[in-house]
Amino acid sequence: MFISLVLFLGFWAFVSLPSLVLAQPPLPVSLTIFYGQGCPHCAKEKLFLDQLENEFSNLKVRRLEVWYNVANANLMSQVGQKMNLSVSGVPLTIIGNQAITGYQDSQTTGAQIKQLVIAYSKEGCSDVVGEILGETTVETDSKACPETSAVTPNKVINIPFFGSVDFSSWSLPVLTIVIAGLDSFNPCAMWVLLFLISLLFGLADRKKMLILGSAFLLGSAASYFLFMAAWLNLFLFLGFIYFLRIGIGIFAIGSGIFYLREWYKTRDAGCHVTNDNQRKKIMEKTRQILAQNSFWLAMLGIMALAFVVNLIELVCSAGLPAIYTQVLALAKLSPLQYYLYLLLYIIIYILPSLIVFIIAMTTFRAFGFSTKYARWANFIGGIIILILGFLLIFRPGWIMFG
């Protein structure tokens, strides 16, 4: 009997030991959410965190708004630097030394956050944001945590008959193709290509024609890529500055109205003659370049001409690339992905020019797209830019892809 009692108590003590350990008060856990006022994903996560705070008394949640609050935006950048993260999107959740970018729902991202809260309640973990704020010190608060990693949940939505669709993976490519397609029908730099083709017809050597025409297209594509990369890097560098986003939003609305006005004004669908002196100068320069004795100098000259023309004409079509790069900057992408999107934009942008050139070189006759396309591109582009402008100002979370 006594032996049985000892064995029973021994067994009870053995199986109860972990729960006795667990019964110890949970360790304090700090969680910080960087959110944007008006961002729908942030609002969802904040609701979830309210519930989580009720469930875990040891959980302390810092809610820091970054779109309107410059100090909080700077703090988010500091956290990003410390954790070696790209902090281009909200909501950004920092728990211990873990970073979670984006929020889907309580079943996915929410569950992930809850798991971390449970784990850190038992094991403890340093509070990176608290350390930066000086609320906790590295010496007293640092605990061994899993390695820092950014977790980006997929925005998967189940659509009947189509199954699971990851919107974050297709909406940005579609937007890229649509905006670049609309931009490509902007005839700003097209006139120089048509003029160049007419001069190339005068060359006897077909190979030279092909190389010089291709040099112009390549120069145009490269210069446009560089301009867009510069826009993008500027927006990435400046990050989530509230006034910048509002400024771009207002610019987008202005551009949208301008494009719609152009659509309305150009009902006769023709070529509109503007800036006679500048056009004549460019035409004369093109003639001079092609009259060069050295083929290589002519080729370099054509590339330089393409660069200058695109620089001059950039004012004519700055709206679409500037707004597109701002939307791109809002997406949470790797540097390679950013540049691949720019490349996709450039390929679509240059396509009509390429078609014009190929048809002209094949048929030896000038070819041009009807200006009616450009007119309707102004209409559709105007509406899209107008919508993007309003979203940038009032609902930036809706256009945060990736």
């Binding site: 097209m190 048509l194 006769d268 669908a269 023709g270 070529c271 003659v273 035409m283 797209f369 200006t371």
Partner: protein
Amino acid sequence: MKVKFFTAIWCPACIVMRYRWEKIRSQYPELETIYFDYDNDVEPVKNYDIGKTLPVFIFIDNDGNEISRLVGEIDKHDLIKQIEAHKER
């Protein structure tokens, strides 16, 4: 009737209309077309007050008077209607 056709080498709408006009002209061999380049033919551009939208078709009667003008990209149907209305003048 004569048609004075003002175009520019760099203008896509002019290229589109040149092909369209060539097709129409084959149906009306009696129609005389005189081509002008916006950048090279400065005097006619000035005299006819071409304006800032290209291409421009000016229909001239046998006495040299302007009958009508069409500006921009014009439908084939509208061009034929114009020719049919004035071809005897």
